[in-house]
Amino acid sequence: MAFFLETLFGGLMSGMLYALIGLGFVLIFKASGVFNFAQGAMVLLAALCMARFSVWIPAWFGFENKFLANLLAMIVTGAMMVVVAWAIERVVLRHLVNQELTTLLMATLGISYFLDGAGQIMFGSAVYAIDVGMPKDPLFLLEGMFEGGVLVNAEDMIAAAVAAALVGALALFFQYTATGRALRAVADDHQAAQSIGIPLNRIWIIVWAVAGLVALVAGIIWGSKLGVQFTLSTVALRALPVVILGGLTSVPGAIIGGLIIGVGEKLSEVYLGPMVGGGIEVWFAYVLALVFLLFRPQGLFGEKIIDRV
């Protein structure tokens, strides 16, 4: 039982992290109707920048304070993600208004390749560490109930808490601020939003910048867990089924989808994996999402779209 709970906890934690990346997808899709394949590359770029600047800044200015270094690196990276968002809007999206969704999807694929290459040229392609001082010790919970307690990772708990806080803040932002309302209006209908005076370009920059900042948080958490390297951008591919399952336009959907996929992956790997030779983690989420799509194409919380000629 304790083992089952451990697996379950592990699944929930990684699910939270998937949700964090999925959130980047959902934000952009919700506010501009673009399916952002470049989210993974943005996570990689942010993590690379963060990892390098947290080493470079103390070396340049000659101080040792770890906290200050991380804080400054975070600010620099945040600024860079805003610039990237601005550049993407300016160079790519502005010219692709009113294009088909698949064209936009392929454009983001191009952006993702570009950012992958550019990031690694600027910051190098070795494996870097991010150390923001997250505790690495295991924790034992519920020791009274089970023998030996349930082993969980303190780092995972903090990451999950950060993710949850971020998600909550974003949900409030979408629901209650004027900008949030404007974002939702743009997602509904570009033209209608423009006609009531919502500046489409600014909205796009805002939403890509927010997605960039979410990518920064995801990058820091994943980076301090796994190290910053190229594989980080493939983590985002693992998070794709999450948004499919949850529905592309729903923030709560991304979270619940993330949790379902995180738990499903871990449980299936532990309990089904040995039967078929293991390693089913890589496709379990995809096949789950695929089967799900056959029965409910819009996902759990997505909007059903009715086509008319």
Binding site: Q99, L109, V309
Partner: protein, 354 residues
């Protein structure tokens, strides 16, 4: 000046509808084929054949297959590598288990298996489209990668999924030298390109294009979306599967699942976008571009005395691909093929532009 069709009158629908209605086009195509079949074998070195021309031909074939799905039918696919893998491994399995089958039959059976897998993964396309379909085809990619690594039967119980083929022959002729491999690939590609070209200009091709342009409207005028989409998936994966089998048999000789990874799928999609969505000749342009770009990136800085490290070169390659994808999507969504047809159009009216 030379490219003018006045005086070439058609007196029957048959003549008007032929595949190359303009005489210069027919002559040009024959010339290209003659060069490919006769001049290239006499002039090309082994390196050129093995490292550039054979990959170019096979990737072109694959790109034609993908173009039918993405360019003609509008169903985006990120799982092309998977269908290539199915073709290659299926052909290998037929070869190992039924050694009496001729090479060509093995390759075609490989394509047939890819068709079946393609149709299975195409079924979700009946209910979903665009973004969702991209994810469904990614599912195919990950699942197939895993299957060839973990299911020993499929790789004839070899370690780590790597397999190899040897002693290839066609009609009793051994296919070992680079030249014979090249000629074999060229024949297959030429036949398939012709078939594909005919298919897309016929009724079925027009159905695909109608589905691509607006599927709801297409179904209103009596096109069955299910039939059109599934045939597109079937034809596309058949061609891609054959290309995969050729890639394994003739280009690599021995391969592992990594040869058909997600990276390959993206590469093929880029070929189709850069070459031209919805164009058979564009598939060749795209493949040529993507095969030649890394070669150029390795050699040109070297010649200029600025040797790049392998890492940097591959990062720059990524950036160039990414930048070009965006550029073509914005500036010329029909890719290099469109530039080609613009050039032809200009030649037609030269020296008197309107």
């Amino acid at each position: 000046m030379f490219y003018r069709e006045n005086g070439q009158f058609k007196t029957s629908y048959r003549a008007d509808q032929q595949i190359f209605p303009i005489r210069q086009d027919r002559v040009f195509m024959l010339l290209v084929l003659a060069v490919a079949f006769l001049a290239v074998p006499m002039l090309a070195s082994d390196y050129l054949l093995r490292a550039i021309l054979i990959p170019f031909l096979i990737l072109s074939l694959s790109a034609i297959g993908l173009n039918i799905l993405v360019g003609y039918c509008g169903q985006i696919s990120l799982g092309t590598g998977a269908f290539m893998a199915v073709g290659a491994y299926a052909a290998f399995n037929f070869g190992v288990r039924f050694p009496f089958l001729p090479l060509l039959v093995q390759v075609l059976l490989g394509g047939l298996c890819a068709t079946i897998v393609g149709v299975i993964f195409g079924i979700p396309s009946l209910r979903i489209r665009g973004l969702y379909l991209a994810v469904a085809t990614l599912a195919a990619q990950f699942f197939v990668d895993w299957a060839f690594l973990r299911i020993p039967f499929l790789t004839n119980y070899s370690a780590s999924g790597s397999v190899s083929v040897a002693n290839l022959q066609v009609f009793g002729f051994p296919i070992q030298s680079a030249l014979s491999r090249y000629l074999f690939c060229l024949s297959v590609v030429a036949v398939f390109a012709l078939l594909a070209k005919n298919l897309v200009r016929g009724a079925i091709g027009r159905e695909w294009m109608a589905i691509r342009d607006m599927d709801v409207a297409a179904s209103v005028i009596g096109i069955r979306p299910m039939y059109a989409k599934l045939t597109a998936f079937a034809v596309s994966s058949f061609i891609v599967g054959v290309a995969g089998a050729l890639w394994g048999y003739l280009h690599l000789g021995s391969w592992e699942p990594l040869a058909f990874s997600l990276e390959r799928s993206f590469q093929l999609l880029f070929m189709v976008i850069i070459g031209g969505l919805g164009s058979i000749v564009g598939s060749f342009f795209g493949a040529a571009f993507i095969v030649l770009l890394p070669v150029g990136l390795n050699n040109i800085p070297h010649m200029l005395g600025l040797p790049l490290s392998v890492d940097t070169a591959s990062h720059i390659e990524h950036m160039i691909f990414g930048g070009l994808i965006v550029f073509f999507l914005i500036a010329e969504p029909h890719g290099l093929a469109k530039l080609w047809s613009i050039a032809k159009e200009k030649l037609r009216i030269w020296p008197f532009p309107h």
